[in-house]
Amino acid sequence: MKNNIKVERAKKNITQADLAILAKVSRQTINAMELGKYVPSTVLALKLARIFEIDVSEIFTLEEDDLK
């Protein structure tokens, strides 16, 4: 699964630390998600969408690998 958290973060002009506070998770979590090393829970995905004021599907997109 791909995500563009980093891009959305840049649009909003907030740091990883800011986003971590807003989403009530650790900075490690934000970092791991941006690096594609961690797939968040549905709850966290929805929270991020709410913070960025966009749809979940605009942040996260499926890749070929996910459909196998």
Binding site: Q16, V25, S26, R27, Q28, T29, N31, A32, S41
Partner: protein, 158 residues
Amino acid sequence: MKLNYLFPNKYKKIGWTLLIPSVIFGLITLIFDFEPIFLDFKVPAILVDEILGKKVLFGFIENNILNEIVGIFIIVSSILVAFSEEVNEDEYISKIRLESLVWAVYINYGILLVAFLFIYDFSFFWVMMLNMFTILLFFIIRFHLQISKQKNMLNNEE
């Protein structure tokens, strides 16, 4: 999402302050076979199975209780260290926790399997005795290494 199977964060510090001296003391008592006479007691036992004696259910047994005390300290303190929340416990840390636990079980039983095959008699008793504690110790080491690796990665980002 709230997890309810972890201890509050403050117990981690208590765990560490108990664990380190207990492990050191435990190893000393093990290596030097330290059994002070004043800790010899008659204690209740579920099964009394004396060498050359008979087997009795629910009886009393002569025993030096130092190893029991040290063992309890190591187990309780390592459980506190292993299963107290991190300051910033969240779903990603839970994932690292679970991975580390699986990893620790694999390593622990891997070592036990090798010991099964190549270590016999009384030496195997030592392996089993250490194996009681190593599963938690392996978990603690692996989990904290992973957490600090994540923290280092963050520091490199800045």
